[in-house]
């Protein structure tokens, strides 16, 4: 492969990694914010799981929880 193309492939993979590593505390911040919302709507015991995978030009973000029940709106915590 010519040097120009080699560089292009290399920079592609560097940028892919950079774009995925969203900075310190990204996951903690996101999980913290999501949990704050989810706790108001669901009862669940296991911590939610989060996965971010490369998908085409962007990323597929999968978030999942197993809830034991949905909170009814009359009893949302203050």
């Amino acid at each position: 492969m010519k040097k120009g193309n080699r560089e292009l492939v290399r920079i592609q993979s560097v940028l892919e990694n950079d774009r995925l590593s969203a900075g310190d505390n990204f996951f903690e911040l996101l999980m913290g914010d999501l949990e704050k919302i989810l706790q108001e709507f669901f009862e669940y015991s296991d911590a939610p799981t989060l996965s971010i995978d490369k998908c085409g030009d962007g990323y597929k973000v999968n978030f999942s929880i197993t809830a034991s029940r949905l909170r009814s709106f009359g009893c949302l915590p203050k």
Binding site: K3, G4, L8, I11, V14, R19
Partner: protein, 262 residues
């Protein structure tokens, strides 16, 4: 009201100041009124690149601290009647002038000009944010190599959080001989990689390096490339200067061979 454009890059030394100066001249040649603002406090060079360093009496800090009016601090650039530069002073400005202060200064200039080009400092800290928050759109300058493109990608993602009207890409120091020989990345590939509209490709040219403080020679390639860039920006043309055309065909390959030997 002026179109306020910040010229930024993340990485230092890729040609921001050079682009601000020469793009300013090219826009002025289109008959537009242009102000160039140096906000690289302490590492200011725009006055030198434009060859007006001896005319500096007041700078942006003097404007801010009330020692002069904005119009007194503006320096008119030689034969270009409608090209002005507002120089930046010492590093002291870094601690004194906020983004909001700068915005107020630019708002005051806005009715007098068609374009205000802001020469942004390198890096992505306070100085970068101060320059960026005053602009409507951004030109990201990058050279076609790994480190510069990586920084450009980061800068573009930060710029997106500012909700700019437009973020465009300029590839500087492109070498037609290396691109034709596939030894340097092609600007169009870089455009796809950074997912950002390419508005200009500027050749690597000794004339640029040697012209600091003087005009670019009329016949040099860079002069043409800046002219195309200026009309892309102003009229919305989508033409890109072809740095490789000199190196195609039989004569081109001889030229490439000669250049490789040097």
């Amino acid at each position: 009201m002026a179109n306020k454009i910040v010229v930024t890059s993340g990485k230092g030394g890729v040609g921001k100041t050079t682009v601000v100066a020469n793009l300013g001249i090219a826009l002025c040649d289109l008959g537009l009124r242009v102000a160039l603002i140096d906000v690289d406090f302490g590492l200011n060079n725009l006055d030198v690149v434009l060859g007006v360093e001896n005319k500096v009496v007041y700078d942006i800090l003097d404007v801010f601290e009330g020692r002069c009016r904005i119009k007194q601090a503006l320096i008119q650039c030689g034969e270009h009647k409608n090209l002005f530069v507002l120089p930046s002073g010492s590093a002291k400005g870094n601690n004194i002038i906020s983004g909001q202060n700068l915005s107020v200064i630019l708002e005051n200039l806005s009715p007098l000009f068609d374009y205000i080009l802001i020469d942004c400092p390198a890096g992505i800290d306070v100085g970068f944010h101060r320059a960026v928050c005053c602009a409507d759109s951004a030109l990201v300058v990058a050279t076609p190599n790994l480190t510069s493109l990586r920084d450009a990608d980061k800068v573009i993602s930060i710029l997106k959080s500012y909700r700019m009207q437009k973020i465009s890409l300029i590839i500087n120091r492109a070498r037609g001989d290396l691109i034709t020989g596939q030894k340097m990345m092609n600007p169009l590939d870089v455009q796809a990689l950074l997912k950002t509209q390419l508005v200009g490709v500027l050749p690597e040219e000794d004339a640029v390096f040697l012209s600091v403080g003087n005009k670019l020679p009329k016949k040099c390639e860079s002069k043409k490339a800046y002219k195309i860039l200026a009309s892309n920006l102003h009229i919305g043309n989508k033409k890109i200067f072809d740095v490789t055309c000199k190196y195609n065909g039989i004569f081109g390959s001889i030229r490439r061979g000669l250049k490789n030997k040097i």
